[in-house]
C-alpha cells in the first residue's frame, strides 16, 4: 500500500513535469578530450539564454531539448578550456565537442577566468570528487598516489587507523561502501592489508564518492557509493605512461586499434620488494608481492552505439617458505553497450562478473592444509537516461544480481597431514531491482531530484538451515535439527523500497541551500572480529536468521563560492539512523564456522556530524581545508529469550557505545603550490581525534596469567593523531619531443610522530609479573620516498 502511494505520487510529479509541449528540437552529443578522445564525465553543458542546462553522463553523453530559437551553449569541464557554441536551432542537431586541457595551469599565470560553479548549482550534495591529477600530487606513504587515501582527506571520510583496509563514511562501517570499478563490485579495495588501494591511478579516469543523496540507480550498501571509472585509452595516437617508485613500478600503454573508433588501454603495477629480498639469505624462500592489471577496450560502432570491455585482475601473494602461503585478490570484468535509442533516450546495457577469493595454507608437513573462500557476483542491468526537456532528466532501469557466497573449505594436503576436509555450505542469493528517478528544475532557483528503488532479495537453496531450540541461534548446543532447502528453494526473502530525495534552492548565483534524504538497504554484511578488516573476513548474506540492514539519512547543506568560483565553501550536517547492522559476539570464532549465526548479533546505529570544506580550485596555490565534527554509535542487544539460561546480554550490556571508527574531530589541510614551471610543492597535514578504545577496569589472576577485566566497550580514547607529509615534483624544462618525465620526492610523516594505532595492555614478556600499557604506531618514523614518472 505504501509502495503504491509512493509510486502514484511519483508518477504524478513526473507527469506534471513532462506535460508541456511546443515545437522543440534536441541538441545532443559527446564531450571528449581533444588529445586522447576520452569521454569527459560530469562536464557542464549550459544554455546561456536559460542559465541552466545539463551535465554529461558517465559516458560523456548529453542531450538538451529546447524550443526553436538561437542559443549559445557553453561547454566546460574542470581543468579544460571552456567553449561557447552558437546554435540556430531549427532541427535536431548532434554536437560532439572536444575540449582542450587548460595548459595555463602549468604556466605562471593566475587564472582569472570564471570557474565551474557546479558545486553550487547542481542538486548533488554529499559528493566528493577529486580529479586524478590532484590525487597524483598528494604526498602518500612511499610516494604511491592513492585514490582511497586521498578521499580520506575529505570531510566525512576516515579510517580506523594508518594502514587499515577500506574507509568509513559518515559513521558507517567499511562494508557499507559500494565500491564499483567500471560497474563491477570490488570486495576488497586494499593491497598489503590496507596500506595501498587496488586502484592504479594511471588507469583511473574519474572517482566519485557519494556520502549521501545517493542516486536511485545505486543500491545494496548503506553508507556510500564509490564509483571508479577506468580510462578508455587514447584513440588518436599510441601513448604510454608509467613510473618507478620505491614500492611499485607502473606501466600503462594505450592507443587506437582503429583510429577515433576503437582504442585499448592496458595498465599494470607490481611491487618488487620481494625481488630484493630474494638476494638475502634469510628471505630467499619467501614471497611477498602484489600486482594489478587494468584493461579496457572500447569500440565506437557509430554515433548511436558504443561497446566497452573492462577488466581488472589483482593479487596479493605472501609465502614463507614451506611454512605458510596466503593469497587474495579481485577479478572483475564488465561488458557495456551504450545505445542511443533516440536523441533523448540513452540506454546502457551492462553485464558484470566479479570474483573475490582468498586462500591460505601450509604446503607440506604434518599441518599441510589448503583453505579457500570466495564470493562471486554476476549482474545484468539496463539503465536509461531520458532527457525529457531542459527541466527534466529521467533515469530508470532494472538490474538482476546473483551472489554466490562460498565462505570456506579446508582440506589436508599430502599423506602426512593431520587435517580432514571441512566445508562450510555455500549460500546462493538472487536480487532483482528496479529504480526510477527524475531530476527536475522548478523555476529558476529550485532543482529537485526524487526517485525510488525497489529490490527483492532471495536466499535460495540448496542449503541446510540449523534450527534452534528457542527459534533464535543461541548456541551450538541448542541446535535441534536442520531445515533442508532444495535447489533454488527460497529459505528467506526480503524486500523494501528505498526512496531518495534531494533539493537545491539557489539563493543567488553564488550560494545555495541543499537538502537530501534517503533510505538505503544492504543485503550482505562483512563479519569481522578484528580492529581492522582483514582480507579473510566473511561476507554474510541476509538469510533465515540474518536480516538486511537499513539506513535513513537526512542532510542539509549550505554551498557558497567566492571570487569567480575560485574559492568554494560548503557546510553540511547529517543525521543517520541504522538498523540491523551486524556485530559479532565477544570471543567469536568466524572462520570455518558451520553455525556462524550463533556468533552474530544485530543492532542499531546512529551517526551525526557537521562537515566543513573550503577549497581553492585555481591559481598557483590550490587545495582545501576540511573539518568534520562527528559521532558514530552502536547499540547491540542480545537475544530476548525469556527461558534461555545465561541470557546473552548483547554488546556493552545493550547500551549505546561509540563505534571503532568514531572520531570527534577530523581536520585535513591539503595544499599544492606551483612554485615555477619546473617545481610543484605539495603538503598535507592531518589532525584526528584518537579512536575509541577499551581500557581495563581491573585485572585478575587466573592460572598465573594476568587477565584484563573489561566492563564497557570503547569508553576511552587513544591519543590523537597528527601528521605532516611533504613532497616536491620537478619537471625538467628540457623534455624530449614525445618523452616527458618528472621526478617526485618527499617525506611521509615529516616529524616522525608515533601516531598510535592502538593502546593495549599486556604482561611484560621479559617480566611476566609486571603489567604494562603499550602504544603501537604503524609508521613511527619519517619515511622518505622518490618516484620517477614518465609519459610518451
Amino acid at each position: 500500500m505504501k509502495f503504491n502511494l509512493l509510486l502514484i505520487s511519483f508518477l504524478i510529479l513526473t507527469a506534471s513535469a513532462t506535460g508541456q509541449s511546443s515545437l522543440k528540437h534536441t541538441i545532443k552529443g559527446y564531450l571528449r578530450d581533444v588529445t586522447s578522445n576520452e569521454n569527459l564525465v560530469g562536464a557542464s553543458v549550459i544554455v546561456s539564454e536559460l542559465g541552466s542546462g545539463t551535465v554529461t553522463n558517465v559516458y560523456g553523453f548529453y542531450s538538451v531539448t529546447l524550443p526553436e530559437g538561437e542559443y549559445t551553449i557553453n561547454y566546460s569541464y574542470v581543468g579544460y578550456k571552456s567553449i561557447s557554441v552558437k546554435i540556430d536551432l531549427k532541427k535536431d542537431v548532434t554536437k560532439n565537442i572536444n575540449l582542450e586541457l587548460n595548459q595555463e595551469v602549468l604556466k605562471e599565470v593566475v587564472i582569472t577566468a570564471e570557474q565551474n560553479d557546479a558545486n553550487v548549482t547542481s542538486v548533488e550534495m554529499s559528493v566528493e570528487r577529486i580529479d586524478i591529477q590532484t590525487i597524483k600530487k598528494i604526498p602518500q606513504l612511499l610516494g604511491e598516489a592513492d585514490v582511497i587515501k586521498s578521499l580520506q582527506l575529505r570531510p566525512g571520510v576516515s579510517s580506523v587507523g594508518e594502514g587499515a583496509s577500506g574507509f568509513n563514511v559518515r559513521g558507517g562501517n567499511i562494508d557499507q561502501n559500494l565500491i564499483l570499478l567500471d560497474e563491477s563490485p570490488v570486495y576488497n579495495s586494499s593491497h598489503l592489508f590496507g596500506f595501498f588501494s587496488v586502484f592504479n591511478p594511471d588507469a583511473v579516469k574519474e572517482v566519485t564518492l557519494y556520502k549521501g543523496g545517493i542516486p536511485a540507480r545505486y543500491g545494496g550498501r548503506l553508507s556510500s557509493v564509490m564509483d571508479v571509472r577506468q580510462r578508455e585509452g587514447n584513440s588518436r595516437q599510441f601513448s604510454g605512461q608509467g613510473g618507478i617508485g620505491v614500492l611499485f613500478s607502473r606501466l600503462t600503454l594505450e592507443g587506437p586499434i582503429i583510429k577515433d573508433k576503437m582504442s585499448f588501454l592496458i595498465s599494470g603495477r607490481r611491487s618488487y620488494a620481494d625481488l630484493f629480498l630474494r638476494l638475502t639469505e634469510d628471505f630467499r624462500d619467501n614471497q611477498a608481492y602484489f600486482y594489478d592489471l587494468n584493461t579496457k577496450v572500447n569500440y565506437t560502432i557509430n554515433d548511436r552505439n558504443r561497446i566497452f570491455l573492462s577488466g581488472y585482475f589483482g593479487r596479493d601473494i605472501f609465502g614463507f617458505g614451506d611454512d605458510f602461503r596466503v593469497e587474495w585478490g579481485n577479478f572483475t570484468g564488465s561488458v557495456r553497450w551504450n545505445h542511443l535509442v533516440n536523441d533523448k533516450l540513452f540506454m546502457n546495457i551492462t553485464g558484470v562478473y566479479s570474483d573475490y577469493q582468498y586462500n591460505l595454507g601450509i604446503p607440506s608437513g604434518s599441518q599441510a592444509f589448503d583453505f579457500r573462500a570466495k564470493i562471486l557476483t554476476t549482474e545484468f542491468k539496463v539503465d536509461f537516461t531520458h532527457y525529457l526537456n531542459p527541466k527534466n532528466k529521467l533515469e530508470y532501469g532494472l538490474d538482476l544480481h546473483f551472489f554466490d557466497f562460498l565462505p570456506g573449505e579446508a582440506r589436508g594436503l599430502g599423506d602426512e597431514t593431520i587435517f580432514s576436509e571441512v566445508k562450510v555450505p555455500a549460500e546462493y542469493t538472487v536480487m532483482p531491482a528496479i529504480y526510477l528517478s527524475n531530476e527536475q528544475k522548478v523555476g529558476d532557483r529550485i532543482t529537485l531530484q526524487y526517485g525510488l528503488r525497489y529490490a527483492i532479495f532471495y536466499n535460495i537453496g540448496p542449503l541446510d538451515v540449523n534450527l534452534y531450540r528457542y527459534g533464535v541461534p543461541t548456541q551450538q548446543s541448542d541446535i535441534i535439527g536442520v531445515a533442508r532447502y532444495g535447489e533454488a528453494e527460497i529459505n528467506a526473502q526480503y524486500d523494501g523500497l528505498e526512496p531518495r530525495f534531494a533539493a537545491n534552492y539557489l539563493i543567488d548565483k553564488k550560494q545555495s541551500v541543499k537538502v537530501s534524504c534517503m533510505r538505503t538497504r544492504q543485503y550482505m554484511q562483512l563479519v569481522s572480529n578484528t580492529t581492522a578488516a582483514t582480507p579473510f573476513d566473511i561476507w554474510k548474506p541476509a538469510g533465515y536468521y540474518i536480516k538486511p540492514a537499513t539506513a535513513d539519512q537526512f542532510a542539509v547543506g549550505y554551498f557558497r563560492n567566492f571570487k569567480g568560483n575560485m574559492w568554494e565553501f560548503s557546510a553540511e550536517t547529517y543525521y543517520k539512523v541504522l538498523q540491523n547492522v551486524l556485530e559479532y559476539r565477544d570471543g567469536a570464532e568466524l572462520i570455518l564456522n558451520e553455525h556462524l549465526e550463533t556468533e552474530l548479533l544485530q543492532g542499531d546505529g546512529r551517526a551525526y556530524g557537521l562537515e566543513l570544506m573550503l577549497s581553492k580550485t585555481a591559481g598557483r596555490i590550490t587545495g582545501w581545508v576540511s573539518y568534520t565534527l562527528s559521532r558514530s554509535e552502536l547499540k547491540v542487544d542480545g537475544f530476548q529469550v525469556a527461558d534461555y539460561y545465561g541470557a546473552q546480554n548483547g554488546v556493552n550490556k545493550g547500551e549505546w557505545y561509540p563505534s571503532n571508527w568514531d572520531k570527534t574531530h577530523d581536520l585535513s589541510v591539503v595544499a599544492q603550490y606551483d612554485l615555477t614551471t619546473q617545481w610543484v610543492i605539495s603538503g598535507t597535514f592531518i589532525y584526528v581525534t584518537g579512536r575509541p578504545a577499551t581500557y581495563p577496569s581491573g585485572a585478575y589472576v587466573w592460572d598465573n596469567i594476568t587477565v584484563p577485566l573489561y566492563d564497557s566497550r570503547n569508553q576511552n580514547r587513544i591519543p590523537h593523531t597528527h601528521r605532516l607529509d611533504l613532497s616536491a615534483t620537478w619537471t625538467p624544462v628540457r623534455q624530449g619531443k614525445r618523452w616527458k618525465s618528472s621526478l617526485s620526492f618527499g617525506i611521509y610523516n615529516v616529524y616522525g610522530r608515533k601516531n598510535p594505532y592502538s593502546v593495549f595492555f599486556r604482561q611484560d614478556p621479559d617480566n611476566p609479573g609486571r603489567t604494562q600499557s603499550m602504544r603501537l604506531a604503524i609508521v613511527g618514523i619519517p619515511v622518505p620516498f622518490i618516484t620517477y614518472n614518465f609519459k610518451f
Binding site: 580432514s420 551450538q476 579473510f536 602504544r775
Partner: protein, 289 residues
Amino acid sequence: MKKFLYALFSFTVLFSSCQDEIQLELTDPVPQVVIDGCITTKDTVHYVRISSTQNYLSSEKPDFTNEKDAVVNLYEDGNLATQYQFNDSTKQFESTFRATIGKTYVLEVQLADGTTYLSEEERTRRVPSIDTLWVEKSTSGFTQGNYDIIFTSREPAGVGDNYQWKLYYNGEYQNQPFDLLFAEDRLVDGNVIGELPLASIDEEKYDELVKSTGKDTIRIVLDQTTITRNYYEFLLIVQQQTAFIGGPFDSPPAPIRGNIYRSEDFDNRALGFFYAASVETAFTKYRPE
C-alpha cells in the same frame, strides 16, 4: 591462523612500525571475587585459588589469603567427593582427589560472609594417549634453529573432543599467554596426529632454563588433557585478550565470562573458571648437541 596473520603483518611493517610503553592511569575496579580451580584425572595436587580484582597496572600481587576460611567442596555426580583444604605455604586450597572419566563435577565455594558460588557442570571425557614425544632442532621456517617439541597421538573418532596441552620444562609450568595451547577436533576428527610440533624453545629460552634450573638437559613433561567445550571457549577468549592484542588484526577488548555463579543468581558471575579434565602424560629429555 591468528599467529600467521601476526607474522605476516609484522613482516610487512618490519621497517617502520614500533611499540613502546606509555604511562596511563587506570581506575581501581569495584572488587569482584575470582575463583580459579580444577579437578583432573591426574595423580597430583588439585587446587582452588580465591582472590579479588585489582588495578590492571598494580605492581602488587593479589592476596590469595583473604578468603582462607572459605569452604570449598567438590561434588561428583551430585555427591560430595572432596573438600579442598587451604595450604598456607602455597596460598591455595588443595585436594589430591582424582576425577574419573565420564563423571560430572561441580565446585561449591562458601565464602566467610555467607555467599555461595557454584560452578556450572564440568564433565570429563575420554582422552587419547600420547604415543611418542620428542625434541628436535628445527631446520626451516618460522622456528628455524629452535628446539621443536613434537608428539604423536590418535584423535578418537566422533566430533566434540576439545584439548588443552600443558608443558613443563624442568618442572616449570609454561603458562604465559602465548603458551596456552588448545584445539578442537573438528578439523582432525578421528585422524592420526603424526609429528605435530606443539611448541618451540628458542636459544634465549634454553639459556634461561639452564640458568634457572642449573641443568643443561631439559626434561619436558607434556599433559594432554581433554577439556569441555565451555573451557575451550574460555581459553580461546583468554588467549585472545592476553596474547593477541593491540594489532590491526587482533580482536578488540571484550569481557570474559567464566563458569562460576552466585548460587541464587545465575547471571551474577564470579571471575575465573573451574574446569574438570582427563589427562594423559608423557615426558622426554633433551640436551642440545
